[in-house]
Amino acid sequence: MRLLGLGIFALVIAILPILFPENYYITVVGVTMFFHAILAVGLNLFMGYAGQISLGHAAFFGMGAYSSAILTTKFGWNPWLAMGAGALLVWCISYLVARPILRLKGHYLAMATLGFGIIIHIFLVQYDTLTGGPDGLSSIPELTILGWPINTDLRWYYFAAIVMLLSILFSLNLVASRHGRALQAVHGSEVAAQMMGIDTSKVKVHIFVISAVMAAITGSLFAHEQAFISPDSCSFFFSIELVTMVVLGGMASTFGAVFGAAILTYLPEFLVVFQDFKVLIFGGILMFIMIFLPEGLFVGLRKIVSYLRQGRKECLSS
């Protein structure tokens, strides 16, 4: 069933640029949305399924992006090796931080991840000899696949879409397995999960690292796509955006995360119309949805649809 949904989604993505060629909202904003979706899907495994919180995931995104940027521009590395190195770096750092941080829960976990994220960000801004400081790094070389360069909007569109669809597939597979249930068990009741033979700290660490590495790889892709990276792209605000995507879409739902990513990518584009009111409205929408649709839009909309359907049935019967 879910694979069918994924298939339809893939089809829609594939034909959109053909139906609406040269459309900024599809090819350019679309790529950003795909990147956001990968990030959201990864974070959703950690937050939605395993029930944890991270307010610092932008740090992993940034570390991946900067590893790629620094290794390719300053040391002439091959972009794919640089991406691998970035992923490895994040793998190590997230693994190191995971155990102490994941002993915490709720607000404390939130604050600790927040602190971690901001520390990384400050480092990226301050260590300017390596990172280019607040101005960032530019002239990041393009990615090539076996000699074929990804250097047009359309190529990036399809490449990013494929990576995103793969992430969604992997997430769906993981969730439907014994390991996926273990994740959710950790969320449901850690003590009961332990009594089922689940090493809950190991589970939390593993899923944290997986979501961190997914963020890092996305960061690397982003750096090559933009050919530029600055600390602004991986600030505390971006961490919050990512959390919002996951929550907005609906936790513990892979497609919900994608939905949330889509909304949060396109909403600012539409809000540009409101110019100075943009920030105000954005904050308002956020608050409104969290207060009245706390299970997220995906689940909330489903409920509204079924409620309306019920209403129509009652009208017909009377």
Binding site: M47, I53, L55, P100, I101, L104, G106, H107, Y108, A110, M111, A112, L114, G115, F116, I118, I119, I122, F123, V125, Q126, V191, F236, I240, V243, T244, V247, M251, D276, F277, K278, V279, L280, I281, F282, G283, G284, I285, L286, M287, M290, I291, F292, P294
Partner: protein
């Protein structure tokens, strides 16, 4: 002799900045105690207080009246936050409430952006700019206002919680809402007052430091985050601990900026958060909690 001179200067700067952190942390602790909410909009209270004061005064309102009005405006904002965002979502999960207050923070910043634009503003000092010499160090009269104003505010808050009926009622709510309700305490009103009080403290911090630090629409963000650090350092839920935490943070930042580097000084607050949460999550003065199976 150089070392001593510098140290005294760091001390002055540290206590000044620390006082602001203390007030923010205190406000944050009050809200956390009353409603179990991590209020990400805390820093915005400071910003609104400062900006309102600046603009009211610039619009011709007499200085002291402008300050008082600024505080009142911020209190109204704090209470509105409680009534329209926190109260309707009182059964929401931790993540939900975090996003709600983050949304509030964004909304308030958006409003500030709309009203005051992106420019940077300063406030006229309370009693002039004549530098005072304290041995080898210098300070402005405003520094004394910050320290004194903070001290008085903290003492008043302590008195409020220890000796007034309303204060004790709020404490009761923070220990056990249901029980407080059952003994006749109007929990909703107490929550409203807590948020108002917290906003008031934020506004006071804002108008105290506005003459020293310049303000803009997003100046509240870092202040808010550092206020959390202060509250965590002192022990989440321990108001006086938050005050001590704020002062300590201010001093550590000041000394760190002087001895190591001013660029990295912002990291100190967050390193503190990690260290405290890793090694003693209950903070310096807090109590540890357990879970019953």
């Amino acid at each position: 002799m150089r070392m001593y001179e510098q140290l005294l200067q760091y001390l002055i700067t540290g206590i000044t900045v620390g006082s602001a952190y203390a007030l923010v942390g205190l406000g944050f602790a009050i809200i956390y105690n009353a409603s179990d909410v991590v209020n990400f909009a805390q820093g915005e209270f400071v910003m609104i207080g400062a900006m309102s004061a600046i603009f009211l005064h610039a619009a011709g309102v007499p200085y002291v009246v402008a300050l008082a009005l600024a505080v009142l405006i911020t209190v109204a904002v704090g209470m509105a936050l409680e009534k329209f965002a926190i109260e309707p979502a009182r059964n929401a999960s931790v993540v939900s409430t975090i996003i709600i207050t983050i949304g509030a923070s964004i909304l308030l910043r958006g409003a500030a952006l709309l009203i005051w634009g992106k420019d940077i503003y300063g406030l006229k000092p309370f009693t002039g700019e004549q530098t005072i010499h304290l041995g080898p160090a210098t300070l402005l009269p405003q520094n004394l206002w910050v320290m004194g104003g903070t001290a008085i505010s903290v003492l008043l808050v302590k008195y409020f919680f220890d000796h007034t009926r309303t204060g004790k009622a709020i404490l009761a709510c923070s220990y056990n809402k249901k029980a407080a309700y059952l003994v006749g305490i109007n929990v909703k009103k107490m929550l409203l007052i807590s948020y108002g009080l917290s906003a008031c403290l934020g506004a006071i911090a804002g108008i105290l430091i506005a003459p020293i630090t310049f303000f803009t629409y997003n100046a509240g963000v870092m202040l808010g985050l550092k206020g959390f650090s202060a509250a965590i350092l002192g022990g989440m839920g321990n108001p006086m601990g938050a005050v001590a935490g704020g002062l300590m943070l201010g001093l550590l930042e000041s000394i760190g900026a002087g001895l190591i580097s001013s660029g990295y000084k912002d990291a100190i607050a967050f390193i503190i958060i990690l260290l405290v949460l890793f090694f003693k999550p209950s903070g310096l003065f807090g109590k540890s909690a357990g879970e019953r199976v």
